[in-house]
Amino acid sequence: MAIKDQFNVLAEALQKGDSGSAEKIFDHFSKPIYAFFMARIRHKETAQDLTQEVFLKVIKSIDQFDRKSGDFTAWIWQIARNSAIDYFRHKKPSYLADLPDEGNNINEELVKSDESAKVREIMSIVESFPAEEQELFQMHFVTDMPYTDIAQITGKTESALRVAIHRLRKKLIPYLK
């Protein structure tokens, strides 16, 4: 709660154009948001574009943020979530097919490693999961988001989330061994 309050204060400072707050917000959220897109889309440039788009939307919409309506962390993640939804909604069906090799968009050192191959394999498996589980995977495993934030974003209770994530773990473990 204290962390969320901290970002609420930073967001209010950002509303006034405080660059220090902008730096802190970017430093905290840029990596997990990029990871969220990367895990979901698995295309480096697209993930970069969507990450920048999220922060652009933050600047454009920051005046609309009101801590009474919710915390900033949930607010910015909701923007990221909506951006991903919009991306898949407007994405051309042939987009991925047009890519020469998705693997080349991932960290090149990892492409050849076994770990990378394992990650890609598991992520492909996750793609076959229901949308809700895919999203939980991205939020919990990829971005390490706290339960409270995931609960706020998804509109579920924390206990329900814990159960859902436990099930997801159980589902993944056979592939991780």
């Binding site: 006034k16 660059s19 840029s30 990871a35 990367m38 990450t51 922060f55 394992k118 495993f141 473990i173």
Partner: protein, 240 residues
């Protein structure tokens, strides 16, 4: 055994998470440029807000100034329209009254006189003489008409028009018209003085004006002293 399995699972998940973090790690160059861009945008939005509020206040100020200008402009516009409308109505009524040679009792009579003044003002000296002559005739006709009606609407009566007493108000008006007739005549006589006009022109005017007076019924003629004065002036002009 279960504990070992549990530990293995947790290790597998930890390794997977670690690999995922590596897999989804952003490019430092991208982060640096995106960070700079975000911070710049944040600052610009502040300046934008200031600029927006400045622009807003400028817009409000300009709106006030504009509304003031518009109000003044509207005032001028309405004033111009009113002036044009009044001028058009006045000139229209004057032209109508002049063209129809309305009688002295007509509400537009003053517009007729106004039109006559305008026509005189716009005419050449030669044309002015003709106009004064025409207007002198008009005055006589107006006097005759006024005396015929006695300044009142015709009433059914067995007494002849000439026998009816002329009301004071109409008499004043008749006197004014006779005076105007004399003025018009005198103006012409002044203007046809030698060497401005040829002797035959002077004689023609004098004969014309005196014939007009003589041809009128006695009760419609201008007062005798006035007629005598005009005769004297005509004699002077003709002798010169």
């Amino acid at each position: 055994m279960k504990i070992i399995d549990f530990i293995k699972e947790q290790l597998a998940i930890w390794r997977f998470k670690k690999s995922l973090r590596e897999f989804t790690k952003p490019d430092p160059a991208f982060l640096k440029s995106a960070r700079t861009r975000f911070v710049n945008l944040a600052q610009q939005s502040r300046f934008g807000q200031n600029a927006h509020s400045d622009a807003k206040s400028r817009i409000l100020d300009s709106d006030k100034a504009e509304s003031g200008r518009a109000s003044r402009s509207n005032s001028w516009k309405y004033a111009t329209i009113a002036i044009v409308a009044v001028f058009s109505m006045t000139s229209g009524m004057a032209v109508f009254a002049d063209a129809n040679n309305v009688p002295a009792t007509h509400p537009l009579y003053n517009f007729k006189r106004l039109s006559e003044q305008v026509r005189l003002g716009l005419s050449s000296p030669v044309q002015q003489v003709e106009l004064h002559q025409a207007f002198a005739h008009r005055r006589l006709e107006e006097v005759a008409e006024l005396e015929a009606n006695h300044g009142d609407p015709p009433v059914a009566s067995d007494t002849s028009v000439s026998d009816r007493p002329v009301p004071d108000k109409s008499q004043v008006r008749i006197d004014e018209l006779n005076k105007d007739f004399q003025n018009e005549t005198e103006t012409v006589l002044d203007q046809i003085n030698p060497p401005k006009a040829q002797p035959e022109d002077r004689a023609k005017f004098c004969n014309d004006i005196l014939d007009t007076i003589q041809n009128r019924p006695k009760h419609n003629r201008p007062p005798s002293p006035m007629v005598d004065h005009i005769k004297d002036r005509c004699r002077e002009v003709s002798e010169d």
